[in-house]
């Protein structure tokens, strides 16, 4: 099952005036659903294109099942790609599109017919052989692109934002299908996306990228619950970020001061001192009535705005520390006991608050 193992080592790609990928190291074991997640321009697509062979690395290695393919042209690599806009050949029908790779490999006619049939079955498009790609819906084109890549039995399937062009509902359906498909055939999927929800729901593990670097690698839970950098905390979902001052730090618990209020937070392995930032997810912020018995990790505040989002209500609270915090209250049908201007007490549970080193913002001097 080791087939499809990818190892990137000190991989760099410089274009004329920008460094798109700045020396990344990654290890993806065979058979994993691995995502590269990041905003546009973070280098995720360039990384994928280097693995596919469309770009030549400036330096570094790309090991595919142990052998360096960094200088192998794309048509000699055992990886296949599903392109963002599918790139189905418009002059060929569905059958010929899927058979394209098999014909280049000079497989016998009978085998081609069988394998194309199987691939179409796999993506549930049997009977569409004679259609042209322009006669297919976006979702169907996406499936043909998938079949065209998978029919060659690649060790690794590269997917470049394959669901980007589809509407939200279809995207959800195909996310589940893609994940099931990957588990069924057991090959490595390297998935590039800027959609954090997509990456979280589908991946076994994911790497969050920013500015050509890998910020954090881990399972979806780890990355979401335990962001290691402010960027990760901010990029994955909505986060409340507050400036804080570290009073004491340790592996089991830390104490920080936020504008005179002392908060207990989760432990950290980092040796933090002085200025830092604390992070809490909106769904973990508790709201209590004003005047409820006070306790640790509680800050008074006032409801500033209520935003109805359907399954929940977003409550924006101005805390006494001056920061504006977002709390997500599940919609249970009971209604929200607060309205704009109501004084409340904000509870930040100590196991939900993380301390992160305060990064210098871009442009700030040393």
């Amino acid at each position: 099952m080791a087939r499809g193992e990818i190892e990137l080592s000190k991989l760099r790609k410089e274009f004329a005036d920008v460094t798109a990928v700045d020396g990344i190291d990654l290890h993806v074991p065979g058979g994993e659903f691995f995502s590269l997640l990041g905003p546009s321009g973070c280098g995720k697509t360039t990384t994928l294109r280097m693995i596919a062979g469309f770009e030549q690395p400036t330096s570094g290695q790309i090991l595919l099942d142990g052998s360096d393919v960094a200088y192998t042209p794309p048509h000699h690599r055992n990886v296949n790609t599903v392109f963002q806009n599918y790139a189905l050949f418009p002059h060929l029908n569905v059958f010929d599109n899927i058979a394209f790779g098999l014909r280049r490999a000079k497989r016998p006619k009978k085998e081609i017919r069988e394998r194309v049939g199987q691939a179409l079955e796999l993506v549930q498009l049997s009977g569409y052989e004679r259609r042209k790609s322009s006669q297919l819906s976006g979702g169907q084109q996406q499936r043909v692109a998938l079949a065209r890549a998978l029919v060659l039995n690649p060790a690794v399937l590269l997917l470049d934002e394959p669901l980007g062009a589809l509407d939200a509902k279809l995207r959800k359906v195909l996310q589940i299908e893609l994940k099931a498909l990957q588990q069924e055939i057991g090959i490595t999927f390297l998935y590039v996306t800027h959609d954090q929800e997509e990456a979280l729901t589908m991946s076994d593990r994911l790497a969050v990228m920013n500015g050509g670097h890998v910020e954090q690698v881990g399972a979806p839970q780890d990355v979401y619950e335990d962001p290691e950098t402010l960027f990760v905390a901010d990029f994955l979902g909505v986060s409340n970020l507050m400036d804080a001052h570290v009073v004491s730090s340790g592996p089991s618990a830390c104490k920080v001061a936020v504008d005179g209020y002392e908060l207990e937070t989760r432990g950290t392995d980092l040796d933090l001192r002085g200025a830092a930032r604390i992070v809490i997810r909106p769904e973990r912020v508790g709201l209590e009535e004003h005047g409820a018995p006070s306790g640790p990790n509680r800050i008074p505040g006032m409801v500033e705005r209520l935003v109805y989002v359907g399954s929940a209500v977003q409550v924006i609270v101005r805390a006494a520390t001056g920061e504006s915090l977002q709390a997500l209250v599940q919609n249970t049908g009971q209604g929200i006991p607060w309205e704009q201007g109501t004084p409340v007490q904000v509870h930040l549970p100590s196991d939900a608050v993380r301390v992160l080193p305060a990064e210098k913002r871009a442009g700030e001097s040393e």
């Binding site: 596919a52 794309p74 048509h75 296949n80 806009n85 050949f89 002059h91």
Partner: protein, 310 residues
């Protein structure tokens, strides 16, 4: 605002105001522009239609209409296009040059376009610019320089058919390059990458994917090259050695300076119709070949843009 006011009953406007309101037609078609467009079409097409009409005149007059006849096409045993050897040769020479031009300029132009579009780096900008030179160089200048080349430098090429073909190819290539390169840019690199990804070598990607996708542009450029070659006067004239190497435009020019007969109109009509047929065939082929792409409706525009260059 005028149109709104106009609808109110009982208000009276002068005729001029009403015409203005009708022209303005704020919420509908821009009638003023439609008028200008039709005026232009009439202006440009009516003289041509009159010339065509007199090619069917029964008498020797090109200005006084008598009755319909095909005398000047083949009926007259001396002066019809069919029986006058100079006219017949001119027609043959014109089609010969245009055909050879298409066969030579199109393949070279396609290769140049491929090379230029995929060439990134030093020199590519300059080469792309130089490709446009023949489009902007006055034809008379190019004709004179080519004549000098063939009489002083490459003296083994004599004026006549070979020199004329070389001259036509020289200025035709640019049209092919511009049309094919435009299509290449709109195709992008994605299909080539997909082909490479599926195991196709660069050569196979070219023959199996890129060339089929370029076919509409190749057909269109062939039609354009045919049309401009058949239409050419200056270069054909400079490089002609007279007699049988005179083309239809040259014949028409010299005939009109002597005593013109309606047979000149007839040969012009033949040229007009055949060029129209070739270009329409090119357009239909382009439409058919690009019908799979979701850009239908733009095909006419794309194809038309090929001509706007000339």
């Amino acid at each position: 605002m005028t149109t709104v006011a106009e609808r109110q009953p009982g208000t009276r406007f002068s005729a001029a105001a009403r015409v203005r309101g009708w022209l303005r037609n704020t919420w509908g078609k821009p009638r003023f522009l439609v008028l200008i467009t039709w005026a232009y079409i009439l202006w440009s097409i009516v003289p041509v239609l009159i010339a065509v009409q007199f090619s069917f005149n029964a008498t020797r007059s090109r200005t006084v209409w008598d009755s319909f006849s095909t005398r000047w096409y083949w009926g007259d045993s001396v002066d019809s296009v069919w029986h006058d050897p100079t006219l017949r040769h001119a027609l043959v020479q014109t089609f010969k040059l245009a055909g050879a031009d298409v066969l030579i300029a199109v393949p070279i132009g396609v290769m140049l376009a491929l090379g230029l579009a995929r060439w990134r780096g030093r020199g590519s900008g300059a080469s792309n610019f130089i490709m446009l030179f023949p489009l902007v160089t006055p034809e008379i200048v190019m004709g004179v320089s080519l004549l000098l080349v063939f009489t002083e430098l490459f003296t083994f090429i004599h004026t006549g058919t070979t020199a004329q073909i070389l001259g036509h190819v020289t200025f035709s290539i640019s049209f092919v390059v511009v049309i094919v390169r435009g299509r290449l840019f709109s195709i992008g690199r994605q299909y080539e990458e997909a082909a490479a990804d599926l195991g196709a070598s660069p050569f196979v990607a070219l023959t199996r994917v890129l060339l089929p996708l370029l076919t509409p542009a190749i057909v269109a450029s062939a039609a354009v090259v045919f049309a401009i070659s058949a239409d050419d006067f200056v270069i054909s004239q400079w490089l002609s050695k007279g007699g049988e190497t005179d083309t239809v435009p040259i014949r028409i020019y010299s005939a009109t300076r002597a005593a013109p007969l309606p047979s000149v109109n007839a040969i012009a009509t033949i040229m007009l119709v055949s060029t129209l047929l070739i270009v329409s065939a090119g357009f239909l082929a382009w439409r058919m070949l690009t019908s799979g792409e979701r850009r239908t409706g733009r095909s006419a525009e794309d194809f038309g843009s090929a001509f706007n260059l000339s």
